[in-house]
Symmetry: C2
Subunit: 339 residues, 2 copies
DNA sequence: GTGAAAGCGCTAACAA
DNA sequence: TTGTTAGCGCTTTCAC
């Protein structure tokens, strides 16, 4: 029960392989009668062209590699979805790799690179040397990384957090703020923290204490809340590196006796689908993550087989979304999400 | 700046392509001197074997396809990680596809199938006909699906929820229970709902009302909470189809004035990393999702190029985890998670 | 409009 | 130990 090949079809239909090939790609210069004959054989034998043979002949895989730090969390899911939407449109595929900050990730990435036409890499997942090596061989687009000679798609986290913290300081008169979720290895987080410091400096304030270094997942928000509570270091406002951490806070602080926003103000970053639906609703920064994925994928794929991409930086817009958790009145009905 | 091929190396090193091929795969029967010469040429020309050529010669892609309903949520992330861990071990890759219940997903899946050696499919994502067609062509393993002639890796959601609800009824004397997150299209959800009904029937109770049909993401838990509140239909206990829904509840109910577990008991399913860290901590069912991914991937890959897999059903163990949200005293410190 | 043949990069019998 | 050669499945000139 082997899969039939072009040759099988050719023999069965009494034509040459070239003709079969022409039929499969709708070449107009095939007589209708022969086309029908070939088509019949194709359905009868259950033939479908091998992606492999095609890839070899075309010298491309029709596949895009996506390198992420980890696989969990809505951020990466959105990014993947964005990339996938592009590849699906053009009939190619996405191969994902979660480096998980593994030591042997360069090896894994090379493995990935060896079977894809282009790479989209999230900033902070790979060392500069590996990145440069890869970029010498194929189109590489960095997402949410610090621009460093490679085409980059990002948002301006610094400006966004600056605006957000500005709001907290000016509108709500907060003076005792702490940043949660700093990760020196993630350019994205660093940018947000920088915005936090900028805003404080502009207001003549200094941070309540060193930023809390925890991972970017919900569970770490919950842990950080417990830790701050236990240490008696709960500040007046918690500026979280992302919504997941903030939501972990929201789910934990009330149980520890804190009212939000009366006792503690909590803000996030990303505008997670949940942000508008938790209680209190979460003030955050909206970031077009899906679009980041789309843009990066389009860019990377557009460069396949062409000139290398210019090392431009595409900055997609963000905006602050004011909700209840910062003390603002809830502006409207919870955003509609179709189930 | 073309990539060098075997032939380039062969010419450069003054040997035949066969010898180059032997060197690249560490064939012992190559003289040390020629090996060195070849190795030198390889590094000098910057050669790396094309996965494509290799794949064509071997007639396999060294890639595993993973078909998921969607890309978001910790469940799928874990599953992917599990699958990825085994493919990484053997030097192959994972291609993911989120069907998102799209109408054209059969097309996308076939596209995926055309470039992978085996498939792992989450139950409920594909119609039986498509599944059967695929299974006729390559190894297919179903995860968390209803067994139907295909090898299946699953947990017994029915038994698990039965045990959980039994606990709620017997230990906490609850009699007014509602199931949240029913999705007739997901075998997994159906199994859990069945366990819910079983337990009620065994206790001579009937459900509070028709199960709330919402998606399986956090945001829908939050929405369902608001909806039940608005309708004045809040039951005494909410049995959620997964932890995400339960966490959405936990994040929302207090803001609406309900105390957990005093006013409303909330339980989930999955034992999400956050479950032990939210407040109150979440009573749930632990499910070895990562291992489901591992097992399914191993099974699928083991059948590549071999006899078809027997349509066995592997059932991995689950266990109920009692925490605060059902009214149990918190048994211990929050579970440790290394940041 | 159709076919023959070369070639994409690699592996593996079979020879030498 | 090394080389020759024939594929793997497909596309694509170039003849006819």
């Amino acid at each position: 029960m082997k899969k039939p090949t072009v040759r099988d079809i050719a023999r069965h239909a009494g034509v040459s392989v070239a003709t079969v090939s022409r039929v499969t790609k709708d070449d107009p210069k095939v007589a209708a009668s022969t086309r029908d004959r070939v088509l019949a054989s194709i359905t009868e034998l259950g033939y479908s062209p091998s992606a492999l043979g095609r890839a070899l002949a075309f010298q491309r895989f029709d596949a895009l590699g996506l390198v992420l730090p980890g696989l969990s969390g809505p951020y990466f899911a959105e990014l993947m979805s964005g990339a996938e939407s592009v590849t699906l449109r053009v009939g190619s595929a996405v191969l994902v790799l979660g480096t998980h900050l593994r030591a042997d990730s360069p090896k894994a990435v090379r493995q990935l690179a060896a079977r894809t036409d282009a790479l989209v890499v999230v900033g902070g997942t790979l060392g500069d040397a590996v990145l440069a090596e890869l970029a010498g061989r194929m189109p590489v687009v960095v997402v949410a990384g610090a621009p460093d000679g490679l085409p980059t798609v990002r948002t301006d986290g610094t400006a966004a957090v600056r605006a957000l913290v500005d709001h907290l300081v000016r509108q709500h008169g907060l003076r005792d703020l702490l940043f949660v979720g700093h990760d020196p290895g993630s350019p994205d987080t660093v940018a947000r923290y920088t915005g936090f410091l900028d805003a404080l400096a502009a207001a003549g304030l200094s941070e309540r204490g060193a930023p809390v270094q925890v991972g970017l997942e919900t569970v770490f928000g919950a842990m950080a809340a417990r830790r701050l509570h236990a240490a008696g270091r709960m500040p007046r406002a918690l500026v979280c590196a992302n919504d997941e951490i903030a939501i972990g806070m929201l789910a934990t602080l009330p149980g520890l006796g804190y009212r939000i926003p009366d006792d503690v103000v909590v803000v996030g970053f990303d505008d997670h689908a949940l942000a508008a639906n938790v209680s209190p609703t979460l003030t955050t920064v909206h970031q077009p993550v899906f679009e980041l994925g789309v843009k990066a994928a389009e860019l990377a794929m557009s460069a396949v087989g062409r000139d290398p991409l210019p090392a431009d930086v595409w900055t997609l817009p963000t905006h602050v979304v004011l909700r209840e958790s910062c003390g603002c009145p809830h502006p409207q009905e919870p955003e509609q999400v179709v189930p």
